[in-house]
């Protein structure tokens, strides 16, 4: 079953997100008030570990589990989309208290009203797709 490994990674991710409390609206609110180091510690230590792992992958020329060369796609260097899109994302993140990973994790924890957030997120994605050619990137 070629999808089993993805299911297991997803289960692991969901457990880590709950046990870290990063799925909590309260923790996101606390982060944007700069009241606690907790969320900065999670994101910061994830990024430091990630930088080391990505550097090791590049340095060792590691191949994927399917035997292919691992390639990283650099992000296009045009700025409006990152700052405008990022700001809109941040408004939603601080309001709903959940970003696209945690909103699904929360569904599993029994917070069924999160379906309204997920529905809104799918609608927002669809609206972007319709407006894409008219927006500055």
């Amino acid at each position: 079953m070629k999808y089993l490994k993805y299911l297991l990674v997803g289960i692991f991710f969901g457990i880590v997100m709950v046990k870290s409390e990063a799925v909590s609206w309260y923790r996101i609110y606390e982060m944007f008030r700069f009241d606690s180091f907790h969320m900065y510690g999670i994101i910061g230590s994830a990024v430091v570990t990630g930088v080391i792992l990505v550097a090791l992958i590049k340095k060792t020329g590691m191949h994927s589990s399917e035997g292919k060369i691992i390639q990283f796609n650099p992000k296009a260097k045009t700025w409006p989309r990152y700052i405008i899109g990022g700001t809109l994302f941040g408004l939603g993140w601080a309001l709903a208290g959940a970003c696209p990973g945690p909103m699904f994790v929360l569904l599993g924890t029994g917070v069924f009203s999160i379906l309204l957030v997920i529905g809104g997120a799918v609608l927002g994605t669809y609206a972007y797709g319709l407006l894409r050619d008219k927006l500055p990137h």
Partner: protein
């Protein structure tokens, strides 16, 4: 690690590196860590490709990521019902005081506040608008910025991408405006 330690909340210096491990595993599988891409896939599989070219692609190549989502739902269930004591989030005193000034109670006794997510809260126009609009901005903004917390803050910064740093700065501009100026208007 004892069972007692597993049942407690896990410290940031454990969970942060474990999130990086999730990214590493997906890269090793020849994929990437990006959760908001699933929202685009959900549009595409619902036939949005007929309305907008942005959704006109072979979404079946993204099935692996939908399986990650399915796993994340199951993982959330396992973590709360088998690997946790009753939720009691150790929030900063200033955070608790700020929420008490909204008239909120039971602060930190659940993952999400009842004042936003309970059945009662969702039974009002305001309650529905908060959740749907919150989600709308997350979905629209993530796709506009080309990624969310996983794609930019974790994957992009790990690969030292300047555009991802700009996106994360944007996340904070929006988050600070919402938290300090708009939330007090909605709930204060």
């Amino acid at each position: 690690m004892s069972m007692e330690a597993i049942l407690q909340p896990w410290p940031w210096y454990v969970t942060g590196p474990l999130i990086a491990l999730v990214m590493f595993l997906l890269i090793w599988f020849g994929r990437e860590f990006g959760m908001s891409a699933n929202l685009r896939t959900m549009c595409a599989m619902s036939g949005a490709g007929k309305k907008a070219k942005f959704f006109d692609y072979n979404w079946k190549e993204q099935k692996w990521n939908l399986v990650v989502v399915l796993g994340a739902i199951i993982g959330g269930f396992i973590a709360v019902f088998y690997l946790s004591k009753p939720i009691d989030i150790d929030l900063a005193a200033d955070t608790v005081a700020a929420l008490q000034s909204f008239g909120w109670d039971n602060i930190g006794d659940s993952l999400v506040p009842g004042e936003i997510y309970s059945a009662d809260a969702v039974m009002s126009f305001k309650g529905i608008a908060v959740l749907v609009l919150g989600g709308f901005f997350v979905g629209f903004g993530a796709r506009y910025a080309g990624g969310c917390t996983s794609g930019h803050a974790i994957s992009g910064l790990s690969n030292l991408q300047l555009p991802s740093l700009v996106a994360v700065i944007g996340f904070f501009i929006g988050g600070l405006i919402m938290t300090h100026f708009i939330l007090p208007l909605i709930f204060g």
